[in-house]
Symmetry: C2
Subunit: 145 residues, 2 copies
Amino acid sequence: MVKLSKKADYGLIAVRHLSQGETGKPSSAKEIARAHGMPVELLAKVLQKLVKQGLLVSHHGAEGGYALAREASSMTAFDVIRAIEGPIFITSCVTVRGECEQAPHCTVREPLSRVNEVLAQALSSVRISDLGGGLPPLVQLEATK
Amino acid sequence: MVKLSKKADYGLIAVRHLSQGETGKPSSAKEIARAHGMPVELLAKVLQKLVKQGLLVSHHGAEGGYALAREASSMTAFDVIRAIEGPIFITSCVTVRGECEQAPHCTVREPLSRVNEVLAQALSSVRISDLGGGLPPLVQLEATK
DNA sequence: ACCATATACGACTATTTTAGTCGGATATAG
DNA sequence: CTATATCCGACTAAAATAGTCGTATATGGT
Ligand code: SF4
Ligand code: SF4
């Protein structure tokens, strides 16, 4: 199937979450995870990846957490997804164990790579600042107890 | 990752293969598989799926095999992929065990579904008749012995 | 100084999906 | 009648994904 991983999904939601709160105040992984009902440790790893790729900045210790490294309007869904999943290729031409053995004389490769281009462009056209309209979901906030 | 499965890949290659030979003469799964170095039984299953979805016609018995059910120019990569993998959704909102629990108040869903649209359109714009330029690869034909 | 809270990171297990295999039933041309 | 096919389901193997755990480290507040 052609689909996004849960991690990428979490990443997008988290980044959007961060784009909503006050710019100065960082949000902890726990806070974000609880607000959206995702496993804390897993989200934490995703966020750490985003930090390493320079999309987020982190702050250790109490009252710490994560915040956007730059403006939401200059950050795209493509940036986030690629940071989490690495380079995106719709074909599996090159896997861990070298190339697909029929790569040299493959005939569907080139047309599909054009499709890949289109996909990348579509994802790049989605700015984080465009995501969602309202505030973060309130439904589950009670779960915070 | 966002990628096509091997099956879809095989399907595309097989369909293209069929679009090259003489229209009347069907090709067997064995023949196609050997020509492109793919596991016969697996390809066979893929082809059977394509038959069931009406993209190919099959012919039992000796000298039998598969052939396109309609013109290569009226068949798209999207058709083939969807026939093999089922409906394509870039998000994993709805899996086998019901919906993603935060679907009702998810904020990234709608923008991504627009991306999904674009992807579908890109795949639909690739006609089978457009695939590759040359003949089927000859490199491995000797393996037929 | 101490402690609660957070990030950081790696190793681990579990689950799911994908890939590939096998065995047998049915159809058909020669 | 036989060689060659499609057809179909059940099975195993391998890989990717999802989620967990333990531990080290940083930091703000008391
Ligand atoms: S078959 Fe062609 S497209 Fe598919 S992986 Fe191998 S090279 Fe890439
Ligand atoms: S989080 Fe939103 S987008 Fe991701 S699966 Fe659940 S509903 Fe679909």
